[in-house]
Symmetry: C2
Subunit: 229 residues, 2 copies
DNA sequence: ACGTAAGTCATGCGCCTGACTTAAAAGTGG
DNA sequence: CCACTTTTAAGTCAGGCGCATGACTTACGT
């Protein structure tokens, strides 16, 4: 409550510095390519084992990065999910999954690294488990999932699971790709994170609404009812 | 044309051994986590510089792996594209993109590694360029793209590009995930590569057909007041 | 039949890594 | 004000890495 700099403040600052440095290095060079030493140096720490000291291990560090952002995304999403309460429009619930992530990156301002970091962490055998655990067990995400399910009650359970995976992969990797394009100064088709999220939501809505082909039966109809867009 | 084992036969065998070993190690541990030494040893080569010698660099090795499989996929896809000639069914062309990859993995028999390898290579900054170049400049793929375009002539060019990216990401990562599940002996929702491809094709058809939301005013603020400032 | 060049092997060098040890610095609580 | 704990700094160590080098083996062309 006073202006004094306590010990825990300074420790928190050090941890934060390490988190930020690690996030950037990871995003730019990949998780496996960045050593704990590099991270410590980049964070201005003289000790080459600062990462181990503060986070136990590289995996612990990765988890901490994910948690930090997840908390903020969670806040945005929870508000959005509450707004959508009772909605029967599929698109609303899909937006609840996509928009908060995009919004969070927009809030952070250019440049960001968490998008690329997420994609790399999810693609890496060593950390995918930890990341999923940290990011997927979110109350708001579960509620959005339920809302979505209510819009598509007839979708077979396996197909739902399958498309859940698809949606996750698509969201993370497309956001990472846009972030990369931004970082490289290239042109992006959508000129804001919000618009990118709209494009993603469009596509995911189509994906979820796609009719399920029964294998053995002939081809699916070409034109699909996109009634609720 | 006698039965003798020529030198070039033995060299080709060595190269192939290295390719196979590398593919497996890469798929299981990630590109960055596997050293050229490990690959050489795994391939039974006494020399720790075998990779450099035969492929110039790790990037060259990665390219060679991609090329090897791309050739076979290309063959399958070209046949399929010719079959679809003149078709106006969107689904046909999407299938031309998905099925050959799945078919190829099915042909290889369990276990396979190329699916996971592809996903990792595409997610890695260091190699994504080389991989794209190797895999995306395929005549059959371009023709399928044209066929697909003809089915959706009114789709804005930026959206088409965007969804092309989506389709690629989705295909590669979902195939990788299925391969991973197979390798770990877990249950997979679809019980064959073909059926998995059908599920993927369903989803992608919906994705491509999804209506495009026009975002209203040109300048949406990037940082949106969610809640209150 | 023999010289040459390609392929393979073995080894050493400099660099970087994570883990570990030791010591200094800085905040905390009696 | 002092003993104590936590945090940061600095340095050591064994091991793995890519790369360069040189010797050995062997198929091929003349």
């Amino acid at each position: 409550m006073n202006g004094r700099v306590t010990r825990s403040d300074r420790v928190a600052a050090t941890r934060e510095t390490i988190l930020v440095a690690a996030e950037r290095l990871f995003a730019e060079h990949g998780l496996a390519a960045v050593s704990n030493r590099q991270i410590s140096q980049e964070a201005g720490q003289g000790n080459n084992t600062a990462v181990t000291y503060h986070f136990g291990s590289k995996a612990g560090l990765v988890r901490a990065i994910v948690r930090k952002h997840t908390e903020q995304v969670e806040e945005i999403r929870m508000r959005m999910v509450l707004d959508c309460d009772g909605s029967t429009r599929l698109r609303d619930w899909i937006a609840c999954m996509v928009e908060p992530f995009a919004q969070h990156l927009a809030d952070l301002g250019t440049p960001t690294w968490y998008g690329r970091f997420s994609a790399q962490a999810m693609s890496d055998e060593t950390y995918r488990e930890a990341v999923s655990q940290e990011a997927l067990n979110s109350p708001s995400l579960l509620r959005a999932g339920e809302g979505l399910h209510r819009c598509l009650p007839d979708l077979p359970i396996e197909v739902r699971r399958e498309r859940q995976d698809m949606a996750r992969q698509l969201m993370v990797h497309m956001i990472a790709e846009r972030e990369r394009a931004l970082a490289e100064g290239g042109t992006t088709p959508r000129d804001s994170w919000h618009r990118a999220a709209v494009g993603l939501t469009d596509a995911l809505t189509g994906l979820w609404l796609a009719p399920v082909t029964e294998v053995g039966s002939p081809a699916a109809p070409e034109t699909v009812p996109h009634g609720n867009a």
